[in-house]
Symmetry: C2
Subunit: 84 residues, 2 copies
């Protein structure tokens, strides 16, 4: 069994209104040192796979098809082998 950690972030060129709102809130709450906030997704997928490489390839496919929107987002995958 493997755990895939998927990090989905907006591309640099894409505006992030949610992040801007969080930044403004933090300023109001007394954290003027905050210069920028970007909000993305962190998805943990537990999956079976014959090999680590197979699990990674399948997960990459899932990201391109469902978990991330390749037009505006980029993603990064890390695979961890679970202890049995």
């Amino acid at each position: 069994m493997y755990t895939g950690q998927v990090f989905v972030t907006l591309k640099k060129a894409v505006l992030d209104p949610q992040g801007d709102t969080v930044k403004r809130s933090l300023h109001t709450m007394g954290y003027p040192e905050v210069k920028d906030v970007r909000v993305g997704k962190y998805i943990e997928v537990k999956l079976d796979g014959a090999t680590r490489q197979e699990a990674e390839e399948r997960l990459d496919e899932m990201c391109r098809k469902l978990l991330a929107n390749p037009v505006i987002e980029e993603f990064h995958i890390e695979i961890v082998e679970d202890d049995q």
Copy 2:
């Protein structure tokens, strides 16, 4: 300048209907090897700070006050020093 990477996840005991929906979709799409999906947030915060420790302490405070809901979520922070 530091970049704080914040990972916010639902506590183990909390149900994740969004994750369950993603899991069912992946099964329908031909990925029966997926056993569990949990959806969380990944937040990048760029902030000034005199020291790495100060930046980390301030960011931890922001998480407890705004970025995470300590009743149902847990969070994990990593601080990276940006190249100048």
